[in-house]
């Protein structure tokens, strides 16, 4: 078994514990599966605090944990800049969407759009937006999972992707949103505990004086280092930085798997408190990633750059080994195994949320509402959602295995945020707030947002790394992040589409949507009792 030659035994034990717990939860949830409301929205019985944890679990991917810590280790401040965008984005969600979504929606983004718009085109457009975002985000996470598990545990990339995908499908298919929620909650607790413990170990090295950590991090560089306590080392093109910043702060408000979480709480009040809980948890998490990144800089130094791999993804695990006593010691191996287990749980929780939101778009929007025109039974819809989840999951596994570890993870996550901010966010916001908005506007906005975001990525220097016209971008496009162009285009599509068309009914049903979204009158209710 050459594949398993370098397997880390402690890591396998911890992985098994994590997986056993999640499988028990899935079994428990499957016994409580009563229909679409349980499958998509956990019966709307999740409390505000639980949902806050679950949102953190849904949101903080391995890219946040290992990726940001790695970027901070390699580049210092610029890694932190990402965290700020990821966090401030929750203000956008809180002020503009969370409560309104809960009051007006049922299971998907499309529910909100189709409430006042012509149902079939509006749902098709929303499903297009959802599936585009999920496609890129999911494949990015699967590839990331494979790479990380291969490096951390020593099992082969393909096997790691298949294992991740298999467990993800198990949670979603058998346990739906109820199991996914609890997997996300457990993951959030594990992740927070892991990062707090690790930060304490780091701070202990500098006498619990954060300023001293900054000083030593800066001191522990060589002339070749890219590390800096100021910006501009990783994000060195100003306009690109602005474009990225814009996509980060508006993108979260268009991520279907995050917005879907607001349907799992009993009312708008719980939706609101869950955002604030999520902000606190995510904010603390990102503050602590700075300690991890700086800790890695202090402990591993410039000599550890090569071992930290692409983007510094392995800086945090390597730091854990060093803090535990070094490679080959029991403490070092154990700490590494714990961090690997946390990273694995992190990935599983995120991909489960993604697959669930994609399957809801397929089953609830496309199958039940468009193809069957609402004539199907609830049982049929849940069954279709399971088949959809399996199909989407298998496609993602196959693409991740074929694309292999060469696919650029952060590039695809950036693309997912750009599409979310350019396609989903403008249409949702305008549907909830602009009286005149209509179906043509929604379709134009979503299509223009998706097409421009993907189009600009295809011609971006990330895809065409060369400097000349032979290997460089075919149209000479220099921005890596499309947000600054594609987000205004998404809004423009919505507005122009609306103004050039006239439609009866959209404005009339706005009264109902407006009153519902502002007051919660007629909102979907929680299933009775526990």
């Amino acid at each position: 078994m050459s594949v398993l030659a370098a397997v880390n035994v402690e890591a396998v034990v911890i992985f098994s514990i994590v997986l056993s717990i999640t499988l028990l939860i899935t079994y428990w949830a499957s016994k409580r599966m009563t229909g679409t409301s349980t499958f998509y929205a956990a019966g709307r019985q999740i409390t505000g605090f639980q949902n806050g944890l679950a949102i953190s679990g849904d949101y903080l991917s391995a890219a946040s944990f290992l990726g940001i810590a790695g970027l901070i280790y390699l580049y210092g401040f610029d890694g932190f800049l990402y965290s700020i965008g990821f966090l401030v984005a929750f203000l956008t969600v809180m002020f503009l969407l969370a409560e309104r979504m809960r009051n007006a929606g049922k299971y998907t983004i499309a529910d909100v759009l189709s409430f006042r718009l012509n149902e079939r085109p509006a749902r098709t457009a929303a499903a297009l937006g959802t599936l585009s975002v999920v496609a890129f985000y999911l494949i990015a996470q699967m590839v990331g999972a494979g790479v990380l598990i291969q490096a951390l545990v020593g099992i082969d990339f393909t096997l790691a992707v298949i294992l991740t995908g298999g467990f993800m499908l198990c949670y979603v298919i058998f346990g739906g949103m109820l199991a996914t929620t609890w997997v996300q909650i457990i993951k959030a607790v594990l992740l927070m505990t892991g990062i707090i413990v690790m930060s304490l170990f780091v701070l202990e090295r500098v006498g619990f004086n954060p300023i001293e950590l900054f000083n030593r991090a800066e001191a522990n560089t060589t002339p070749e280092s890219t590390f800096s306590l100021g910006p501009g080392t990783y994000l060195d093109t100003p306009l690109d930085t602005v474009s990225l910043g814009l996509a980060l702060v508006l993108g979260t408000a268009g991520l279907p798997h995050i917005l879907m979480r607001f349907f799992t709480v009993p009312n708008a009040r719980a939706a609101r408190s869950s955002v604030v809980w999520a902000m606190c948890l995510i904010g603390c998490f990102y503050l602590l990633t700075t300690f991890i990144g700086f800790g890695a800089r202090v402990v591993l130094g410039e000599a550890g750059v090569e071992a930290a791999g692409t983007g510094g993804n392995l800086a945090a695990p390597n730091l854990a080994t060093a803090l535990g006593g070094g490679e080959g010691t029991f403490g070092g191996d154990l700490f590494l195994a714990v961090i690997a287990g946390v990273a694995f749980a992190t990935i599983l929780a995120v991909v489960a949320g993604l697959v669930l939101s994609a399957s809801s778009a397929v089953a609830h929007d496309i199958w039940s509402s468009i193809i069957r025109k609402g004539q199907d039974s609830e049982k049929e819809e849940v069954w279709v959602a399971r088949v959809a989840a399996a199909t989407i999951g298998i496609i993602a596994i196959v693409i991740a295995v074929i694309g292999g570890s060469g696919l650029n993870v952060s590039f695809m996550v950036g693309l997912a945020f750009a599409i979310a901010a350019s396609a989903n966010f403008p249409a949702l916001l305008l549907a909830l707030t602009w009286r005149r908005f209509n179906t043509t506007g929604a379709v134009c906005g979503v299509v223009l947002g998706v097409v421009s975001a993907i189009g600009l990525i295809i011609v971006s220097p990330g895809v065409w790394p060369g400097a000349d016209s032979e290997t460089g971008s075919p149209i000479g496009w220099t921005l890596a992040n499309p947000g600054i162009v594609s987000i205004p285009l998404g809004f423009l599509g919505c507005i122009v589409g609306t103004l050039v068309s006239s439609e009866r009914g959209a404005e009339r049903s706005f009264h109902e949507l407006f009153v519902r979204s502002e007051t919660g009158l007629g909102a979907e209710k929680a299933l009775p009792g526990h």
């Binding site: 203000l91 956008t92 306590l229 009153v515 007051t519």
Partner: protein, 132 residues
């Protein structure tokens, strides 16, 4: 299950609620709070991004030893997020939620449910949702 079977929802006069002074007050007051907050946080955040992008050297200057201007500015973003989050929770509990309840009072509690806040929207599921 999720969809209550009452068809009373069709009888809700949404336009009348929308025109009511209670609803208008709710919308106006919430907008008066949310709009300036949104403008403020977007401006404060985008200013941070712009300074990072176009004046990286300024952000890299030391305030106290290894603590740079950039990190101080970044920390204000955290304070802003926590501050606005808690402020909005308080405002909503004290001001917006009671107003919302008053705006839909006429449609609440006709099933004799004790009025747990927002547990009372039972009256108004529109018929289009009750598709089964």
């Amino acid at each position: 299950m999720a969809e209550p079977s009452d068809r009373a929802g069709t009888q809700i006069d949404w336009e009348a609620i929308e025109r009511s002074p209670e609803f208008q007050e709710l919308v106006t007051r919430r907008r008066r709070f949310v709009l300036p907050c949104t403008v403020f946080f977007l401006a404060w955040y985008m200013a941070f991004i712009l300074v990072c992008a176009y004046a990286p050297d300024f952000m890299g200057e030391s305030v106290y030893q290894g603590l740079t201007v950039g990190y101080c500015y970044a920390l204000t973003q955290f304070v802003m997020v926590f501050g606005l989050g808690l402020l909005y929770l308080r405002k909503s509990d004290k001001e917006f939620d009671p107003l919302a309840e008053r705006a839909i009072e006429a449609y609440a509690d006709d099933e004799g449910h004790p009025g747990a806040r927002f547990g009372r929207e039972r009256a108004g599921a529109p018929a289009r949702e009750a598709r089964r």
